[in-house]
């Protein structure tokens, strides 16, 4: 099953299990979504539970809040992350704090699915990776899977969660990776990082599509007899500092990898908390390998923008040589 198929399977399962689940977004009905994540679902669950909305992102966010307050479990889709911005108002001012501002009288069990990131040679504004903007907002959860299994299990968890979850789906690996996924309705835990590979020499931390290059880098490093531990952060907000700190306590060295622009990216948070809470175990500076501090370029240069396996390997090597 590909990652996008896993998303589809989780949505189908949630729709079948819970009549309160409603999907809404642009082109998610007959068309099955521009990435086909919702294919077949309108046919199966009807056009009232799989709703083609007008072209309006603030609306999609706000509808989810209203539906959620009424006990539905809306799962909205924003077509690309570049079109999420008009919806941020609804996320920050409402979704994230409806429970808090009413002291629990109302709540907002919604999920907003957003295809994330670059690398699919898409047009302008289609390749954004601004997860750090969301991970700063108290009251939200921000989740990003890096494999079909985790897409399935984390999406089910997100839908069942009683609070708002932004579920970022890395388009670059929608179809690029396949995995064995059992459609058994079992959720994976939120707020927990996954150790994808154990190692002693250096900790590599990443999330979403970049986990792929990070794992490839670990393979290459192994060939150089450097034993990398790889952590998929998976939930960015709230994130699992314990797993990271435990790993860095062991390795003393770390490289954080993300696709988003460097300055103020979520890697800064990880590096800061490592410095703050594990300084004495550090044998080398925590290094961030990230996208550059420029607008994500159009396809001709996008490959040069995203961290390559080579850059990760070089950084890890350097970190390991540091003394």
């Amino acid at each position: 099953m590909t990652l996008v198929e896993a998303v589809n399977a989780a949505l189908a399962r949630a729709l079948a299990d819970d009549s309160n689940v409603v999907l809404l977004g642009e082109d998610i009905g007959v068309n099955g979504g521009v990435f086909r994540a919702t294919i077949g679902l309108q046919q199966r669950f009807g056009r009232e539970r799989v709703v083609d909305t007008p072209l309006a992102e603030a609306l999609i966010g706000g509808l989810c809040v209203g539906m959620a307050a009424q006990g539905l479990k809306p799962v909205g889709e924003i077509q690309f992350m570049g079109f999420l911005y008009p919806c941020i108002d609804q996320l920050v001012n409402h979704a994230s704090r409806l429970r808090h501002r009413t002291q629990g009288r109302l709540s907002c069990p919604m999920v907003l699915r957003v295809p994330h990131g670059a690398g699919i040679r898409a047009p302008e504004h289609h390749s954004e990776s601004t997860e750090a903007m969301l991970a700063h907002i108290p009251g939200l959860r921000v989740v990003m899977p890096s494999s079909p299994e985790r897409a399935y299990g984390l999406l089910l968890a997100a839908i069942r969660d009683p609070d708002p979850v932004i579920f970022l789906e890395p388009t670059r690996i929608y179809r690029a990776v396949k995995g064995q996924v059992e459609d058994n309705g079992e959720a994976l835990p939120l707020d927990v990082a996954f150790v994808l590979r154990e190692g002693r020499d250096v900790t590599l931390i990443s999330w979403g599509a970049m986990v792929r290059e990070t794992m490839a880098a670990a393979d290459q490093l192994a060939a150089e007899h450097l034993d990398a531990e790889v952590i998929d952060l998976a939930t960015l907000k709230p994130y699992d500092a314990e797993t990271i700190l435990a790993s860095v306590a062991k390795t003393g060295r770390c490289v954080i990898v993300h696709e988003a622009a460097r300055t103020g990216g979520f890697g800064a948070e990880i590096a800061a908390s490592i410095a703050e809470r594990a300084l004495l175990s550090l044998l080398a500076p925590p290094v961030r390998i990230t996208g550059y501090d420029t607008v994500i370029p159009l396809p001709r240069l996008e490959q040069h923008y995203m961290p390559s396996v080579g850059r990760i390997v070089a950084a890890a090597r350097k970190v390991c040589q540091f003394s």
């Binding site: 409603v22 009232e48 539970r49 709703v51 909305t53 007008p54 309006a56 603030a58 609306l59 966010g61 706000g62 509808l63 989810c64 809040v65 209203g66 539906m67 959620a68 307050a69 009424q70 006990g71 539905l72 809306p74 008009p86 108002d89 609804q90 001012n93 409402h94 429970r99 808090h100 501002r101 009413t102 002291q103 629990g104 009288r105 109302l106 709540s107 108290p138 009251g139 009683p162 609070d163 707020d191 709230p238 994130y239 699992d240 500092a241």
Partner: protein, 366 residues
């Protein structure tokens, strides 16, 4: 390019629209148009009048609490009481109200306690965990942003085939916001049971209506979303209730959304942090005092022998008492422990933030 605009050309008309206006009581309390059915029972009108008086008594007290440092910034509804009361009186408890910050008349009607409203404006979130219908939304501060919620709520009703209606209140300024537009458009497409009500008090803080929009009425904005709107005299609580009742009933029976523009006037400052004298002449305000909603209804009730001086005095005393008692309860509300700022952030506070909450524990209550 031709210099001549082809103005003479008579192109065929493919669509026609009109906006109507609803008003019953003239400012002097005479009946300008035969009253709607519900008004035949003067007890109903008395209940509306009483609610308006209570709203104003509460409002005046809230302003004075702010002036004496016992309340935060507060947005009075002076002169606009007929809108909130008229609308709320047309709703059923199971309907959902999505108010703005100036609709306390509606909140009170629906059972929110005065001390809860004070608590909210006094800077305490507990005020929003109120005694009104549990499904009602709290007052919305970011202007217009509650409109998509109203559409979402109405969608839930439609999906579950529940005969319930979402009622969304907002100001003239809010009609400039895109989210309101997006919500109305969606409500039109799905024929949702939602009523959009613009409280056109003619000012958005210091911005007069003519700088807010060029549209001749606010009611006509619904045309863009494919449904109808109506203007009502927002100082005539009978007109507001009649329009709201008609719209709510239609929405409840599957006839889709409706837009009401209630024209009134903000006789007071925008909030206690505002000084309206900076931007509008006292004469304008004076002139509008002649149209405010109390006098006309009282005159009418008196003319119907349904109201008199003694009732008026009794009501004043009763309101005074109720307000004072509520203020006492408000002022007696216990302090909060600082760590409660983490309460209800999530259903269960994630492990990651428990340390922060602990850090706050033991600091003095406020």
């Amino acid at each position: 390019m031709s210099d001549q605009p082809t103005a003479g050309e008579e192109l065929p008309v493919i669509a026609r629209f009109e906006v109507r206006r609803r008003a019953y009581l003239a400012p002097d309390g005479t009946v300008a148009r035969s009253l709607p059915q519900f008004a035949a029972d003067t007890r109903v009108l008395v209940s509306l009048y009483r609610a308006m008086v209570l709203t104003r008594a509460f409002d005046l007290k809230a302003v004075s609490l702010q002036r004496t440092g016992r309340l935060g910034t507060y947005a009075p509804a002076l002169g606009q009481e007929a809108v909130a009361v008229g609308v709320a009186s047309a709703m059923l408890p199971e309907d959902v109200l999505l108010p703005s910050y100036r609709d306390n008349g509606a909140l009170l009607w629906r059972g929110v306690k005065m001390e809860e409203i004070l608590l909210f404006w006094g800077g305490d979130e507990r005020g929003n965990d109120s005694s009104g219908p549990a499904h009602d939304f709290p007052p919305c501060i970011p202007v217009g942003s509650q409109a998509p919620h109203a559409a979402g709520v109405a969608y839930a009703f439609k999906l579950r085939r529940e005969p319930r209606v979402a009622v969304c209140l907002f100001g003239d300024g809010a009609t400039s916001k895109g989210d309101l537009w997006e919500a109305m458009n969606f409500a039109g497409v799905w024929q949702l049971p939602v009523v959009f009500i613009a409280n056109n008090n003619q000012w958005a803080i210091s911005v007069p209506l003519r700088l807010q929009t060029a549209s001749a009425t606010l009611a006509q904005k619904a045309i863009a979303a494919g449904f109808s709107g109506e203007q009502v005299d927002g100082n005539d609580v009978i007109a507001v209730r009649a329009a709201a009742e008609r719209a709510v009933t239609a929405a409840r029976s599957g006839k889709g959304p409706f837009f009401i523009e209630a024209v009134t006037y903000r006789l007071g400052d925008h909030t206690t942090a505002d000084d309206a004298a900076r931007y509008r002449p006292p004469e304008e305000v004076q002139a509008h005092w002649k149209e405010e909603p109390f006098a006309r209804l009282r005159s009418y009730l008196v003319s119907q022998k349904a109201w008199g001086k003694s009732q008026e005095e009794e009501l004043a005393g009763e309101c005074q008492e109720r307000v004072e008692a509520a203020v006492d309860r408000y002022l007696a509300t216990g302090p909060r422990a600082p760590e409660t700022m983490f309460d209800h952030l999530y259903a269960e506070l994630p492990k990651a933030y428990r340390g922060q909450r602990d850090e706050l524990q033991g600091t003095p209550r406020a």
